[in-house]
Amino acid sequence: MTTLVYLIPAALFLGALGLSGFLWALRSGQYEDLHGAAERILIDRDDKPER
């Protein structure tokens, strides 16, 4: 019983972390061009992130 007191919040926290990660990715437009993202890894560029 006592273990549950911190195990349940820990589980929920980790789940919520995943959920918020997904929502962040969705909001920042990472799902807008899935097809393009798959092809873009084939493109050689400088090792700098795009603006």
């Binding site: 549950l4 349940i8 997904f22 969705l26 799902y31």
Partner: protein, 761 residues
């Protein structure tokens, strides 16, 4: 050029594309300001399809002066360019040089799909909540008792609150909206069931009860949201794809002011009396009268007439006509809102009634379903109340009935079949506007075809090529490459023989033909009377009457015969439709003789020639009155009202812009087999939907009595609900197998052909 831009015919296409580039004023009109002097222009580039394309486009555009950046979206085949300053950088021309045709976008097509991201967010939240609550519930089912059980219930209750508020909001809003207007929809039983289950579970939790339904109420939302999201994705995807195709209506025109100044005005600001300059390759924006210049016009979009019309000053022209060969000055006789194009839009809106009162199967089922469910729950409550007098028990059992009957399988059944079917069609190059289109297509018994551009390609085709000397054909092809006239394009396709003399000066004479000098002789390709100035051109001679000829110093050396080629597989498509017990008819604006030829070649018995747009609508309405469900297949502007009037409609991707918008299906490939394929898939999808609804009903007839008798615990409810959903999904996926087995021959050959041209070289 990149690896995969269109290949051998490129030189020709670039020459062609260069003359139809949107002018910089037009681009500016379609751009939006991002603040300061920064602008963004969105272009649709249908040919983009691989990493090399992305790189070629982004680097080439990025190198241009004043371009801040370019970004390719491969899923939607769009390029958005951000640029600074007043002058528009030449990005369309740059794309053209790389081998990509670019088209401007409608301004209203901008913006993200807000509903979709809301739905996905809701699915994510509901999925998260359902997963966690389910974990806690499993512990309860496997024997947690006392304080532990209460703790688990309380945690579940806490997790369920945000899920219901956020994910459930979609259903609550829709249900409230329906109830407020005195209607009933599928969302009402969902909303009532979910909120009652939650309230009941909370009550149980507070009173240390054994069972709570938190998991049921949240996972119900999760499943239903999946169905709803799929439904939305399908409609939205086809809609944006249709919008991304090339745009055929003119956006504006160059206006010649009284003082000699030129001004580019959007269509809406053009007023009667203004003088418009229409360059070769532009579309005429409003109805008008030619005051200077002569040219050939492609009226196929407007009248369905496929042969170009030669015009000179004084003649009237309609909006939407494509100017082919020479520059024209046109005096506008009507404002854009009174033009032929707008008349079509009005006719279309008036004709749309036939489709408006169609209700989707899911809606029809839910209209019956919802009252039955609520009645069953209420009767259960009343029955147990009367039998035992225990209101708590009666309430628990009534809620169990409500939950177990909640249309989980039903909510998934229809969208999932439609998504699978739409995907199948998408892979064969057919785009579906929305799910109800497939339901309507499955019901048709009559198909009505337009002739030009639908049964035929709407482009002339050289039919006597084998009887022309290769050397002459090669010279003609070289000359024809300099013109946009449809006849020239047909001849230019035969280029490739190397022995011909090099052309020195080439000039086009609008309305007559092309003149060039080569190896000291004057060659002309064009009308017989103009080109063969030394020959007696009354019509006698071994080359036959009239038509298009090639002459050397005025002597006819070759003559060309053109025919509008039938669309690939037109005959096979007609045969397949016949086998599917669909009766066929052809409606056309073209002459009776031209129609009879096509009808005979295809084996269509009935046709009506020389129809005006409203005539086509009347024909279709007459068929509808006779009790037929009519499919209209057409492409022209003149078909648009008929497309709206029919029960369901299909248009090729080459159709006029508003035609594509009016049609329920758009097919991207040349083959007319798309029509029987769409019919076949729709009928199978219809069958699966009915099966799925039957499964849902059978499930309910088994589950509901158990619930009414009071034997349903949350565990049983969860198992029953998931099982019925999985059954329905599994049944829907059978469609994939069905159709794949039958698609052989032509469609797969087309696919192979497309793959081949996609290979990097």
């Amino acid at each position: 050029m990149s690896c995969c831009a269109p290949g051998a015919e490129m030189a020709l296409d670039v020459a062609g594309a260069a003359s139809v580039l949107p002018s910089s004023q037009e681009i500016k009109l379609a751009s939006r300001s991002l603040g300061g002097d920064l602008y963004q222009t969105d272009l649709s580039v249908p040919a983009v399809h691989c990493a090399a394309c992305i790189r070629a486009i982004e680097t080439a555009l990025g190198k241009l002066d004043r371009v801040e950046g370019a970004r390719v979206n491969l899923s939607t085949k769009r390029v958005s360019v951000r640029w600074r300053g007043d002058e528009v950088p030449p990005f369309v021309a740059t794309l053209g040089r790389l081998g990509y045709d670019a088209h401007l976008f409608e301004p209203e097509a901008y913006g993200k799909d807000k509903t979709l991201s809301e739905l996905i967010r809701a699915v994510a939240v509901a999925g998260f909540a359902a997963g966690n609550i389910m974990l806690l519930s499993v512990s309860v089912w496997s024997g947690a008792a006392g304080a532990t059980r209460d703790l688990f219930h309380w945690v579940s209750a806490l997790i369920a609150i945000p899920a219901l508020a956020f994910a459930g909001g979609i259903f609550f809003r829709s249900a409230w909206n329906a109830l407020r207007h005195g209607r009933m929809n599928m969302d009402v039983p969902i909303a009532v069931g979910v909120s009652l289950a939650y309230a009941m579970s909370l009550y149980e939790t507070i009173n240390h009860g054994d069972h709570a339904y938190f998991d049921a109420s949240v996972s119900l939302l999760f499943f239903l949201l999946i169905g709803r999201t799929l439904d939305h994705v399908m409609r939205e995807r086809a809609r944006t794809a249709v919008k991304g195709l090339s745009q055929l209506a003119a956006r504006g025109a160059m206006v010649l002011r009284g003082d000699g100044a030129h001004d580019y005005l959007p269509v809406g600001e053009i007023e009667p009396g203004m003088q418009l300059l229409i360059a070769a390759g532009e579309r005429i924006p409003v109805d008008g009268k030619i005051i200077r210049g002569s040219s050939d016009l492609d009226c196929s979009l407007v009248s369905g007439e496929s042969t170009p019309r030669t015009v000179a000053s004084g003649e009237a022209v309609q909006a939407g006509i494509l100017n082919l060969t020479g520059p024209l000055t046109v005096q506008a006789t009507a404002a854009a809102k009174d033009s032929f194009l707008e008349e079509m839009v009005r006719l279309m809106e008036a004709a749309e009634g036939g489709r408006a009162h169609y209700r989707r199967i899911a809606d029809r089922v839910s209209a019956l379903y919802a009252p039955v469910v609520h009645l069953a729950a209420f009767v259960t409550f009343a029955g147990w109340m009367a039998a035992t007098g225990d209101w708590h028990r009666a309430m628990t059992i009534a809620i169990a009935v409500l939950i177990i009957t909640c249309p989980c399988a039903l909510g998934l059944a229809v969208p999932i079949v439609q998504v699978v079917a739409a995907r199948r069609l998408f892979e064969s190059g057919i785009m579906v506007k929305d799910g109800s289109a497939m339901e309507r297509l499955a019901a048709i018994d009559t198909a009505v075809f337009d002739k030009t551009g639908t049964l035929t390609l709407g482009q002339p085709h050289l039919v006597n090529a084998p009887s022309i000397k290769p050397a002459m054909l090669a010279i003609a092809a070289d000359m024809a490459a300099h013109s946009r006239h449809p006849f020239s394009r047909a001849i230019a396709g035969f280029a490739g023989f190397a022995g011909q003399p090099k052309l020195e000066s080439v000039s086009e004479h609008p309305g007559f033909g092309i003149e060039a000098t080569a190896a000291g002789s004057t060659w002309r390709l064009g009308r017989r009377g103009w080109a063969g100035w030394r020959a007696r051109t009354g019509g006698e001679g071994k080359h036959g009457y009239g038509g298009t000829v090639l002459t050397k110093d005025g002597i006819i050396v070759a003559s060309f015969v053109f025919e509008d080629a039938l669309r690939a597989d037109a005959r096979a498509a007609i045969v397949q439709l016949n086998d599917a017990r669909v009766s066929m008819e052809m409606l056309s604006g073209d002459t009776a003789a031209a129609c009879a030829d096509v009808a005979k070649a295809l084996g269509i018995d009935r046709f009506v020639p020389v129809l005006v747009p409203s005539g086509k609508v009347e024909c279709i309405e007459a068929l509808a009155r006779a009790g037929h469900k009519v499919l209209m297949v057409g492409d022209g502007l003149n078909d648009t009202p008929a497309l709206s009037a029919a029960h369901v409609s299909i248009a090729p991707a080459t159709a006029a812009d508003i035609g594509r918008n009016a049609a329920d299906f758009v097919f991207l490939r040349e083959s007319l087999l798309a029509v029987p394929l769409a019919l076949d898939v729709s009928r199978k999808a219809g069958r699966l939907i009915r099966q799925n609804i039957a499964i849902a009903i059978v499930y309910n007839t088994i589950a509901v009595p158990i619930a009414i008798l009071g034997h349903v615990t949350p565990l049983i409810a969860a198992i029953a609900m998931s099982a019925s959903s999985l059954l329905v999904i599994g049944n829907a996926l059978r469609l994939q197998g069905f159709v794949l087995a039958e698609v052989t021959g032509a469609p797969s050959a087309t696919r192979a052909g497309i793959r081949a041209s996609v290979q990097p070289s």
